[in-house]
């Protein structure tokens, strides 16, 4: 129960510009799929179309083989967790969780069992008689989850459900969510603009940009082999270093910086002399004393994180970010060496739309 197929789904609000351009992919039954992308890229629109809160402008959506795109939301057997939770403020926690069942004329006893079961799972029992306004943000979030769980739908949809929580709570709830999914095994589609959430939670990630689907794959595929420059930049923290580089007979050179590496595994066609080269900061090694083969760089800014230190350096005017483990004892202005030889290469065409390295 719960396989979702999007087939050339398309949405335009104004009939002219596309909020979502023909998107196709399959969410396997029981999978947790994340729609990841920056603000305005069409994530919510896609989710709303799956939910039936927006009409599709074109294409079809099927759930378990049945077309649903003309059905009203309540006929689609899914639950939705909103960013602002959308808890009914005038109902108690219990009533909030029971509402969907009541609307579906579930017998009273059944409702009670399922609500209490969901409440127990989320440790919400002490709050069942409270109104949402008497709960903390995290508790509200859990009620929103509970409302979805109590319904036991085939599909869960989440629209940035964690973004209203503070950092600590967000991490904790993320973990709970993952655990919950492991237990329930229901198909879930999850919208976020936070790459960390997407990586940690998902079976598969759909990275979107400006209404288009950039890449659809497992977290590891997305991180290790971003299909486009956009994906490379958007996924991974701190953000990847990107340079205009030249690919010449198997060697990659960043002009004017002295950075040059052998282009292992890079497929070159005639047109691809000018390329984009990406190097992840945590794969660069900073030597307080420059060593042989190091690129020489000047330290600009040091940001200690405790377990690691982000060092922004400039190499002949080009800025480069490296992440070194632990506290690094350098000072702005100091000259250091950066070893790029150990870094995996992410090479893209000059316009960033196609990956050249494997």
């Amino acid at each position: 129960m719960g396989e979702i197929v999007l087939d050339r789904v398309h949405k335009s609000y104004d009939g002219k510009t596309s909020a979502v351009e023909e998107i196709s992919y399959t969410v396997q039954q029981g999978h947790f799929v994340t729609l990841l992308g920056p603000s305005g890229c069409g994530k919510s629109t896609t989710l709303n179309m799956i939910a039936g809160l927006e009409d599709v402008s074109g294409g079809t959506i099927t759930i378990d083989g049945g077309r649903v795109d003309e059905l009203p939301p309540d006929k689609r057997d899914l639950a939705f967790v909103f960013q602002d939770y959308a808890l009914y403020p005038h109902m108690t926690v219990y009533e909030n969780m029971a509402f969907g069942l009541r609307m579906r004329k579930t017998p009273k006893a059944d409702i009670d069992r399922r609500v209490r079961d969901a409440a127990e799972r989320l440790s919400l029992e002490p709050f069942l008689d409270r109104k949402p306004r008497d709960l903390s943000g995290g508790q509200r979030q859990r009620v929103a989850l509970g409302r979805a769980i109590a319904r036991r739908p085939a599909v869960f949809l989440f629209d940035e459900p964690l973004s209203n929580l503070d950092a600590l709570l967000r991490d904790r709830t993320r973990t709970e969510l993952k655990q919950l999914h492991q237990e329930l095994g229901a198909t879930s589609v999850y919208v976020t603009h936070d790459q960390e959430e997407a990586l940690t939670l998902s079976d598969k990630i759909a990275v979107m940009s400006r209404g288009r689907l950039e890449q659809y794959g497992t977290p590891q595929e997305i991180y290790d082999s971003p299909a486009t420059e956009f994906v490379a930049v958007f996924v991974g923290k701190p953000s990847i270093n990107l340079f205009d580089a030249e690919l010449d007979g198997g060697r990659l050179t960043v002009p004017g910086t002295g950075i040059t590496v052998p282009g292992r595994g890079v497929t070159q066609k005639a047109a691809d002399r000018k390329v984009r080269l990406g190097l992840r900061p945590d794969e660069l090694v900073v030597h307080e004393q420059p060593q042989d083969g190091d690129v020489r760089a000047t330290v600009k800014l040091i940001q200690p994180l405790g377990h690691a230190t982000d060092v922004a350096v400039t190499v002949a005017g080009t800025e480069l970010l490296a992440r070194a483990p632990g506290f690094l004892n350098v000072r702005p202005g100091q000259e250091v060496g950066v070893d790029v030889s150990g870094a995996r290469l992410h090479v893209f065409t000059a316009d960033g739309t196609r990956r050249l390295s494997d």
Binding site: G52, L53, F80, L87, G100, M103
Partner: protein, 326 residues
């Protein structure tokens, strides 16, 4: 005990009981200073007249009959219970108020729903809504008199044109129909304000609640019943209270619509108008004051009734401190 004697005296007399240093005390003093004039003006302008009215109501004070005004205790209030005219006026007031308050609030909610939908000239429509609100009550009376005149009124012309009646109806000649015309006229005037209230309230209902409810399986009707109505509950309460106050106090329209008589056959004499007639036409000021004070008590009683009905007296109280979050 010893602890409090050790702490330096932080609280000058007369200031609200709160902690704080010099600057904070200064702030409070400043704010009190700002409040003082308005509070004093309102107190002065209400306290004396209300006290005076109460005093009047304990006297026999009929200017036409006698220049002496003996103290009569609660006789005037006693008279209220035995006076059939007061009873009738009260009945009419109940009729008028129940309709204007309940139907008014219900219609206003409906209108607000109409006007919160998306349509092309929505802004214009909401502007037009203000027309009745801006019309002074006196003009309102004149206007409806022109419309419901039995001979020359446009109401008859239109209804004849539509084939609903074939001879002119004398709208203002029977007590009941005059009362209904009055209700119709008052509704016209009061609906816009109530509608505006509800428009704002409806706009304050988060759209996601409706979406959540539709996902939960609620259709349009149930969304209205389970989401819309409960969400605008406090506004409904406010509207009921405010409209009850206004309905009990209606005067100008009656005065103009009925040529100052509250007629025909007293058919539009509500208690407020009755108080007026007693005080200013019959010059029975003592009894008039008693009637007026009974109205005041009634208004407060009804406000309390609505609050209890909604089990939300705390809402009014809480409003003063609640702050809108951005």
């Amino acid at each position: 005990m010893p602890a409090s004697t050790l702490t330096p005296p932080r609280r000058p007399r007369g200031l609200p009981r709160l902690g704080g240093g010099r600057a904070e005390r200064g702030d409070r003093r400043f704010n009190l200073l700002l409040m003082a004039p308005a509070v004093l003006v309102v107190l002065a302008l209400f306290a004396y007249p209300i006290g005076y009215a109460g005093w009047l109501s304990l006297h026999q004070w009929d200017d036409k009959i006698s220049p002496v005004h003996p103290y009569v205790g609660v006789d005037n209030y006693h008279q209220l219970f035995s006076d059939p005219a007061y009873r009738e006026a009260l009945d009419r007031t109940v009729y008028f108020s129940v309709i204007t308050v309940l139907a008014g609030v219900a219609l206003a909610i409906g209108l607000a729903v109409l006007l919160t939908q998306q349509f092309r000239f929505r802004a214009l429509a909401r502007v037009l809504l203000l027309v009745p609100w801006a019309v002074p009550p006196v003009v309102n009376g004149i206007m409806w008199h022109l419309i419901f005149d039995g001979d020359t009124g446009i109401a008859n012309t239109v209804l004849r044109g539509l084939g609903i009646i074939d001879t002119n109806k004398q709208w203002l000649s029977s007590p009941t129909s005059a009362m209904n015309v009055l209700i119709f006229a008052e509704m016209w005037k009061l609906l816009p304000f109530l509608t505006l209230l509800f428009i704002a309230a409806l706009q304050g209902v988060p759209a996601n609640l409706y979406r959540a409810a539709s996902i939960d399986g609620a259709g349009a009707i149930r969304r209205f019943a389970f989401i819309t109505l409960p969400s605008i509950r406090t506004t409904i309460l406010f509207a009921l209270i405010v409209q009850s106050m206004w309905s009990l106090k209606v005067f100008d329209t009656i005065y103009v619509l009925t040529g100052g008589s509250g007629g025909p056959a007293g058919g539009t004499t509500t208690i407020n108008f009755f108080a007026y007639l007693t005080t200013f036409s019959n010059l029975d000021r003592g009894y008039g004051a008693a009637i007026a004070i009974s109205i005041m008590a009634l208004v407060l009683l009804i406000a309390v009734f609505w609050m209890l009905l909604f089990r939300a007296p705390s809402w009014f109280v809480a409003r003063g401190t609640r702050r809108r979050t951005a």
